[in-house]
Amino acid sequence: MAVSSKIDTLAVPVDTLQKSGAPDSDWIMHHIVDGREIELPFLGYVHIPQFPLVFGIDITPTKHVVFMLIAAILVFITFLSIARNYKKSVIPRRLANFFEIFIIFVRDEIAEPTLGKNYHKFLPYLLTLFFFILFGNFLGLIPFSATFTSNIAVTSTLALLSFLMIQLGGIRHNGFFGYFKGLVPHGIPVWLLPLMIPVEVLGLFTKPIALAIRLFANMIAGHIVILALIGLIFFMGTIFIAPISVAFAVFIYLLEILVALLQAYIFTMLTSLFIGMAVHQEH
């Protein structure tokens, strides 16, 4: 339900543009969807060469792959230097001081309340997830870049990894059979089991699907709205609409900064919560 309504809201501005005489939606989608070209400011386009197929799968890097790698490298360099700082002394300096807030936030506000005492096992995963998404979201806010976290393939893969993490966490703590037995709540009458088992199994899969679509839709929505607002200037054909468009675009951009931070938090928080629920099934 939520998904289709979100797509509807996306479609409205795009639809309006099309009715007003645009040939198609390519101009707007070009900035949002993945592609084989990277736009460099003032230099033009760089075309990514075709890679050979691996097991019949085209693994040619796309625009989103490039920015994903950039984000990964940035995350790696940032936290490597921070780790160096901490190895030298326990006093945080500059970058370490700034990111320590986030690290401690993930540890004390996300991992510990949801996972309980042995949160240490999942902390590296949660931290990597949080900062990978955070850097990706913010990287997408830079002009000429692309938001790889607004790609459904990326978000579903991240959700899939979270799904595996949730199941592994549950199985490791409760045992293979104990975990699947614990999925169905205690004290349920036997005649309800044929209903409850499918519901619970379905529940396992809806969680990561919701994770994937939430991040994807949130990250793409702002970009589409900004593009639509700017596009309004050209389709109306008047300069007088520009101040309004720009004002609204700036507002949406600021909102996107908030959303970028918020979605990284929500994705991590929910993953941690689901792991916690799988580990402590009694609750």
Binding site: I7, L10, A11, V14, D15, Q18, D24, S25, D26, M29, H30, I32, V33, D34, G35, R36, I57, D58, I59, T60, P61, T62, K63, H64, V65, M68, L69, A72, V75, F76, F79, L80, I82, A83, Y86, K87, V90, E100, I103, I104, R107, H120, L123, P124, Y125, L127, T128, F132, N151, I152, A153, V154, S156, T157, L158, L161, I220
Partner: protein, 179 residues
């Protein structure tokens, strides 16, 4: 019309594909990137950072606990010192009081003793004087007797027989003694 457009946006079309297209190559890239990043960071970043943070928190906790303990100890020592000081003051007062009474009694005793001694000396002196007086008197008596005798002898030698005279004088002297 709405629906047609949606389908076009979601599943289409030229170039990089539609909004909802799932590119398996991209998924593989994501898995590889994320897992490599996770393993690398876990080794070189998260472990040292989390260890350092935990260590720092422990250090701060310990330092605070130690400070609290030191404070308690200092307070205890201060209390003890104050109690000791009060006790010492009390004691010194007692000692002064004691020595004062002792000195008082000593003074009294000494005065008494010296008075007694003085009295004794005076008594002795008086006794001695009496004794000396008596002795002098006795001697005087003898000398007077001799002088008188010799005088009388001189006088009587002129007129009387010395034996007769001596008898008279002795008789007289013994009368004097009796008196």
């Amino acid at each position: 019309m709405h629906f047609n457009f949606l389908v076009a946006v979601l599943v289409s079309e030229s170039g990089g594909g539609g909004l909802m297209d799932v590119n398996p190559g991209l998924m593989i890239w994501t898995v590889v990137t994320f897992i490599v990043l996770l393993l690398l960071l876990k080794k070189v970043a998260w472990k040292p950072i989390i260890t350092a943070l935990d260590k720092r928190e422990n250090d701060i906790k310990q330092a605070l606990e130690q400070a609290e303990k030191a404070k308690d100890e200092a307070k205890k020592i201060l209390d003890e010192n104050q109690a000791n000081l009060a006790k010492a003051g009390e004691e010194s007062k007692k000692i002064i009081e004691q020595s004062r009474t002792y000195a008082e009694s000593l003074k009294e005793q000494m005065i008494k003793e010296s008075k007694a001694q003085a009295k004794k000396i005076v008594d002795d002196a008086a006794l001695e004087i009496q004794r000396k007086k008596d002795a002098a008197f006795e001697e005087l008596k003898v000398q007077v007797a001799e002088i008188a005798v010799s005088a009388a002898e001189k006088i009587i030698k002129e007129s009387l027989d010395p034996q007769k005279t001596k008898r008279v004088v002795d008789k007289y002297l013994s009368e004097v003694k009796k008196n």
